[in-house]
């Protein structure tokens, strides 16, 4: 019974929405047909606030069609719009009055659509966003401002600003809609004005909340900013949403320099604020690739990066990449850089996600032949000490790494070859010492690698056996070993061809209870 009822209800709903759609269509035709039916616009706009999703969608479509036509026919008032309540001067003709009235309707429609950007349904949001962008495009084409104004202002900045403000919510996560918006960011002018609008938005929110940005807002901003795909060359700036006129020399969106400046400004204003750890990591992850190269003055990032480097842990690891670019390309001098790097070497370094990246950079930093011997020795010894807790896939990478260090700095050979000295009571190396200069690594030997010659994995043993004879002059390439994971190691083993399978000769007596069965001592069925 209930089911049937529900069915009936739904069918009646469908009927109802169908009817409303028909109603909308007929009203649209009526409004477009003759000005006398203009009051039907109210009915259409009313539907925008409907509870039903389908109706809202239909209404959005209808309004979109309606105002597109009006914009194209220039049936909206052009110029400064007086408030609706103001009494109009008599000089206005009926035509103007109509246009003004219609312009007011258009404005209220835009407001409605902006509100719909926070609608619960994503499809409605999306549709509203698309309609708004369409309006932006048409407004650019058929400006609602006076044409005597400058060409560059033809872009409907105000409208875009509203859209951006509505995208960058303070309470709700709108990353989904922002990713949808990303496709409009391909247009150079949209990108440019979005950046300026974002900058303004950040400033506004900051003022409102007094220095501390809400985390959701930050996430939204980051999502928007990270989806910005900056152009690399001036010549590629040709894709505009609003078709430009011939005289566009001074138009800012056409200049790469301006783009860069705005880009830099918006990022700086964003990064000025305290970021959450995960956001910090995300920013640092894309920093070297998609932020630093597009800044006009990358050195502005120094403060941010050094601060990040000092945080420690994974954030320090990630900051290394940006720092490397600054040191390498922008002559950044970082005192105690290597000391910091040295202090980053902790057992957990082998288990973090960004291991490959870190060792790639560490390899780069330590590739300089002008480093002092004590430093290299300290690094080598510390890494060797860490191998005592490392899983095999890391060992396969780290042993050649250490050997490369020794190869580059032949004076470090003492670490693996120190003839004619007596036995030592303890290892002279001081693990706890933070300063590599005082760690006495040069007086030590890499006994840890000798231990690894007894490792259970054959490849590790083979790698560790290298130190028992003079190292070859050729450095071994570790780039292929950096990213190897334990599952890859397993797969490698599985791919190995085997001819025969040796068997255990001790006869079996059961699951437990083989000789030297440790498990049997501690476990039972």
């Amino acid at each position: 019974m209930a089911a049937r009822k529900a069915k009936r209800v739904s069918s009646s709903f469908a009927k109802q929405s169908d009817a409303e759609r028909h109603d909308l269509d007929s009203k649209l035709a009526a409004v477009l047909g003759s000005r006398t039916n203009a009051n039907a616009v109210f009915d259409i706009l009313e539907h925008l606030e409907s509870k039903k999703e389908e109706v809202v969608q239909a209404a959005i479509r209808t309004t979109s069609k309606l105002f597109e036509v009006f914009l194209e026919k220039r049936e909206l008032y052009i110029g400064d719009l007086p408030a609706e309540d103001d009494s109009l001067p008599d000089t206005c003709s009926a035509e103007d009055k109509y246009k003004m009235w219609m312009r007011h309707r258009y404005n209220s429609c835009v407001t409605c659509l902006l509100n719909l950007l926070q609608h619960s349904s994503f499809s409605v949001q999306e549709l509203a966003l698309c309609t708004l962008m369409k309006f932006i495009q048409l407004e650019g084409k058929f400006p609602l401002e006076n044409s005597e104004w400058k060409e560059s202002y033809r872009f409907p900045i105000e409208l875009l600003k509203f859209v951006i403000d509505n995208l960058l919510q303070e309470e709700t996560d709108s990353t989904l809609l922002i990713t949808r918006f990303q496709e409009y960011l391909e247009y150079d002018d949209v990108r440019y004005y979005t950046m300026t609008a974002t900058n303004d938005c950040i400033a506004r929110v900051q003022q409102k909340t007094k220095q501390v940005l809400p985390p959701v807002f930050q996430t939204n901003v980051f999502c928007l900013l990270s989806s910005i795909n900056m152009p690399v060359e001036q010549s590629s700036l040709e894709n505009f949403l609003v078709t430009k006129n011939a005289n566009h020399e001074d138009w800012k969106p056409t200049k790469l320099k301006e783009h860069k400046r705005v880009f830099e400004r918006v990022w700086m204003s964003f990064l000025k604020h305290q970021l959450s750890v995960s956001l910090y990591k995300k920013v640092l992850l894309i920093l070297h690739e998609s932020i630093l190269p597009h800044m006009s003055k990358p050195t502005l990032m120094i403060d941010f990066l050094t601060a990040a480097y000092d945080v420690g842990g994974a954030i320090s690891l990630l900051a290394l990449n940006g720092l490397f670019i600054l040191i390498h390309q922008h002559n950044l001098e970082y005192p105690d850089f290597y000391k910091k790097l040295y202090s980053l070497l902790e057992p957990s370094i082998f288990h973090v996600k960004y291991r490959a990246r870190f060792f790639h950079l560490a390899n780069l930093f330590l590739s300089s032949t002008h480093l002092p011997i004590y430093l290299v020795a300290a690094f080598a010894k510390r890494l060797a000490r860490l191998t005592l807790t490392a899983p095999p896939q890391v060992l396969l990478m780290i042993i050649p790494f250490i050997c490369n260090l020794i190869r580059r700095h032949p004076a470090c050979r003492a670490l693996i070859h120190r003839p004619n000295t007596g036995d030592l009571a303890t290892d002279p190396y001081i693990m706890e010492e933070q300063d590599p200069a005082k760690s006495q690594a040069l007086e030590s030997s890499l006994w840890e690698l000798e231990v690894l010659q007894q490792h259970y994995h054959g490849d590790v043993v083979r790698a560790a056996n290298v130190i028992s004879r003079a190292l070859s002059a050729q450095e071994s390439d570790i780039s292929g070993l950096l990213e190897i994971s334990s599952s890859e190691l397993f797969d490698k083993e599985m791919k190995k061809k085997f001819k025969s399978v040796p068997l255990e000769y001790e006869p079996v007596r059961g699951l437990l209870g083989l000789k030297s069965d440790i498990t049997a001592e501690h476990f039972a069925f």
Partner: protein
């Protein structure tokens, strides 16, 4: 060939003579300086062979060649216009394969056959007549028998004079003679008529015949008498037994004793040295040697391909390890051996088994019959018996574990043995009866299952004993030696069994007892098909690794796997040697364990149990090879850390997946001191990995304490194993710190405290070891460069040296071909020259003939003309 055949055909003597003559001629030729051509060598070259070509006999070789040509080419040439060919159709005339003797035999046989066929088509009984020089041997024998052959032939062949006279008219002589004798006898009587004469003649001849006959008989008698007399005398003459006697007496000649022995010795097989019956010690020693060999093999694999390292790894003394192991093994082997023969208590056991089987055989008689009917092609003959034997063996192997474990405990106290033995017997009987019952219920043949479902249906719902029997029978029915595809079937069976075990293990309440039993057939199958088994286990491991990988990708960490993964790892350790440097199954298993220890954080007590299980296994894997496992140390440290009360700062470093201040960081901390006092160490139940059965506070506390004790025991083992490693102090530094400063051992029972003190003592002892600075291995000095010339073996002069074997072969072949080609061309040229010569001589001959004839004609013509002219002149003159 023909030549050789011809030579063979000659009688050997003649051939020898010819050879001698030829030899002689050759030496003569050799001696003749005009016949010999010597290739003078200008100078001697060391190592060059100047074989047979330095001295030649051109005349001889030329004549030889000429002769050969005459035999071949000339004949051909002369026969060039002829169509008909002389064919020798005698059997085998041109067959070079037959020796002359064989040829003759065959021909003879064929001839006989031809004759026989004609005669004996319908004549079934007639024997073949044997002949000698064309005469029947039978006849010959007959003739020999009759002594008076001469007279007989005389009678038949040569007629008496009278007869001839009378038959053929007679000569005057005969008649005259007669007349004379008649005249002498019967002068008075009137002369006889012709008829009378003839009658008389007939009578006379008859009489004569009779006389002769009687004479013959007489002589025969006499000869016989003479023979017998001779026999009598013979014995006296020589000391030989008479021939006739000898024949009768010694139909089977009795050889001399001595001869017999000599013969016997001659023919007797040389006595083969047989293996001495081995004493038990020797057998044990042999077994020990076998194990030693296997162990040596294992050690070799453990060290991996490179043996150069062994020099360096001083702390693992190969000898030491081997000794220890063999000592261990030795006891075991001796015991296991004794179980078969000597050991008194087990002897009783054995007898018992025997009795049982005898007793059961009767019961099973019908069953056996059935089986023989049923199994048919499976096993010929005594399949029933075999089954029985197998069965008893199986029982024995079932008991094996008991025996072994008991054997271990036998040494300390032998008083309790008797009671134990009784118990065991009882158990055995029960089990056996159970097994027998199972056997009798089950069908005797099983087809090897093709799919896992059918395999499952075979085993499901049966008790473990029956499952074992089923598996055993499947194995036996499908033994690879019985049919072609059985190997593949049994290989599949291994996979099914492994899957089945996996299923058993991944149930909520895993049937570990069944798995424990099923491992035995698994091991047997694995011994049969190592490669297939290896692949199966690898795939199983791969599956679990993939599951972990997926989890890590999704969440960044993984949960500890279910019991089935642990069972797989355990099975790997059971089936394959874990100490190899690289092993196709064990190495992936180790990596998997490493993943389990590094990627799976601990959230609950179950995780602790599972993790400790993995740790136990990992340590077990390397217990022989003493390899270093960083993950294991990290994990044990992490687990111990769970038992430490939370503190702000730590002076030891934890390695992920453990965190210093995680939410589970006090998981193993025991709050209640009373619980600690009541704690007694007992093994952890494996099922705890799936979920703790204990619920009360007390039990959980005990569980925690057991975990800690287990962990500490593992640490102790690690300390023992890694003691000799050079950086031992650094490896165990965190654990040492934790044990000595942080672990609340004072609250624990005495047992754990002792354990901890023991560990710390061992660590302290090993920490005193001095650090020896690393030095490169001593390398062989690189030999100095020498300036002695490089020596290369020169095998053949005049050949290109530097190329490889193949090229050389090819060049040799080309060279040979060239030489042969030249030789052939020369031969052909010589042949042509010879032919031309023959043709020339023929033409010359023909021309000469023609000239002669022409000359003759001219002669005759000129004489004719001369005559004609003379006649004409005459006429003219006459006119």
């Amino acid at each position: 060939m023909g030549k050789s055949a011809g030579k063979k055909g000659k009688p050997p003597a003649a051939a020898a003579a010819a050879r001698v003559i030829a030899q002689k001629a050759r030496t003569e030729i050799r001696d003749n300086p005009f016949e010999v051509k010597i290739n003078k060598q200008k100078f001697n070259v060391l190592g060059r062979k100047t074989g047979k070509h330095d001295v030649g006999l051109p005349g001889v070789s030329k004549s030889k060649a000429l002769k050969r040509r005459k035999d071949t080419i000339l004949m051909e040439y002369q026969r060039r216009g002829k169509v008909s060919v002389f064919m020798d159709k005698r059997f085998g005339e041109y067959d070079t394969k037959l020796t002359p003797d064989e040829k003759m035999m065959k021909r003879f046989a064929m001839e006989r056959k031809k004759n026989a066929e004609r005669k004996t088509l319908y004549n079934l009984n007639e024997e073949e007549e044997l002949t000698h020089y064309g005469q029947s041997l039978a006849n010959l024998e007959k003739l020999n028998d009759t002594v008076d052959s001469d007279s007989d032939s005389e009678e038949r062949g040569a007629l008496s004079a009278e007869l001839t006279a009378s038959h053929f008219g007679g000569g005057g002589g005969l008649l005259r003679k007669k007349a004379q004798s008649d005249q002498k006898d019967e002068e008075a009587e009137k002369p006889k008529s012709r008829k009378e004469l003839i009658e008389e003649l007939i009578i006379k001849s008859k009489q004569e015949k009779r006389e002769r006959q009687s004479q013959k008989e007489k002589s025969l008698e006499l000869t016989e008498k003479l023979d017998s007399d001779w026999k009598a005398i013979q014995g006296l003459l020589s000391h030989k037994t008479p021939k006739s006697e000898r024949k009768t007496e010694e139909e089977k000649p009795k050889p001399d004793e001595y001869d017999k022995i000599v013969r016997e010795l001659g023919f007797e097989m040389k006595a083969q040295p047989t293996d001495r019956m081995k004493s038990e010690e020797e057998l044990a020693k042999e077994e020990q040697e076998r194990l030693q060999k296997l162990e040596a093999e294992r050690l070799r694999r453990m060290r991996g391909d490179k043996d150069q390292k062994s020099k360096r790894a001083k702390h693992i003394s190969a000898d030491d390890l081997m000794d220890g192991f063999i000592l261990d093994n030795d006891d075991r082997v001796m015991l296991s051996y004794k179980d078969g023969a000597m050991n008194l208590p087990e002897d009783i056991e054995l007898e018992d088994v025997g009795k049982d089987t005898i007793g059961d055989e009767d019961e099973e008689g019908s069953g056996d019959e059935e089986e023989e009917e049923g199994s048919g092609d499976d096993e010929e003959g005594s399949s029933g018996e075999e089954e029985d034997v197998e069965g008893s063996e199986d029982d024995a192997s079932d008991n094996y574990s008991d025996l072994e474990s008991d054997a271990g405990s036998e040494e300390p106290g032998s008083d309790a043995e008797n009671t134990k033995m009784e118990e065991k017997e009882k158990k055995n009987k029960e089990r056996k009866s159970g097994a027998k019952a199972a056997k009798s219920e089950l069908p005797f043949t099983f087809a090897a299952p093709e799919s896992y479902e059918s395999f499952q249906s075979l085993l499901s719902g049966k008790p473990v004993e029956q499952q074992l029997v089923v598996l055993e029978r499947i194995q036996k029915c499908n033994h690879p030696s019985l049919a072609e595809g059985n190997k593949a079937k049994l290989e599949k069976l291994f996979g099914f069994l492994l899957d089945y075990i996996t299923d058993l293990a991944s149930m909520d309440s895993p049937d570990l007892k069944a798995i424990d039993k099923l491992v035995i057939p698994l091991y047997n199958l694995c011994q049969m098909f190592p490669e297939a088994a290896g692949t199966c286990v690898r795939n199983a491991l791969d599956e679990s690794a993939r599951a972990i990988d997926k989890m890590v990708e999704a969440k960044g960490r993984a949960a500890l796997q279910g019991i089935h993964v642990l069972v797989h790892l355990k099975i790997t350790a059971i089936l394959f040697p874990t100490s190899d440097f690289w092993h196709s199954v064990v190495t992936p298993a180790m990596i998997l364990m490493s993943q389990l220890l590094t990627l799976c954080p601990i959230y609950s007590l179950e995780d602790v149990a599972a993790g400790l299980f993995v740790c136990c296994m990992f340590l077990e894997y390397v217990s022989l090879s003493k390899k270093f496992i960083p993950e294991l140390i990290n994990y044990l440290l992490g687990v111990l850390h769970l038992a430490v009360p939370r503190k702000e700062s730590l002076d030891y470093v934890l390695v992920p997946p453990f965190k210093p201040h995680g939410k589970n960081s006090e998981l193993l901390l025991v709050g209640n001191n009373e619980d600690i006092d009541t704690w007694v160490k007992k093994p952890l139940p494996i099922t705890a990995i799936n979920g703790l059965s204990e619920s009360s506070e007390l039990e959980i506390s005990h569980f925690k304490l057991t975990c800690i004790a287990t962990c500490l025991d593992l640490v102790r083992r690690c300390v023992d194993i890694y003691g000799p490693l050079p950086a031992f102090r650094e490896i165990l530094n965190p654990i040492t710190t934790l044990l000595s400063k942080h672990l609340p051992t004072r609250d624990y029972s005495l047992q754990i405290q002792e354990l901890q003190a023991d560990i710390l003592r061992t660590i302290e002892k090993n920490n005193k070891k001095p650090y020896q600075p690393l030095v490169f291995e001593k390398q062989m000095a690189v030999p100095m460069k020498m300036f002695t010339p490089k020596l290369m073996p020169v095998l053949e002069f005049g050949r290109k040296q530097g190329c490889n074997q193949q090229e050389r072969e090819r060049k040799k072949l080309i060279h040979k071909h060239k030489r042969e080609f030249k030789g052939a061309v020369r031969e052909i040229r010589r042949d042509n020259q010879f032919l031309a010569r023959v043709k020339l001589s023929e033409t010359m001959e023909r021309d000469a003939e023609r000239k002669r004839k022409v000359k003759e004609l001219f002669n005759s013509l000129s004489t004719q003309e001369g005559e004609w002219k003379a006649l004409k002149k005459k006429k003219l003159k006459g006119r």
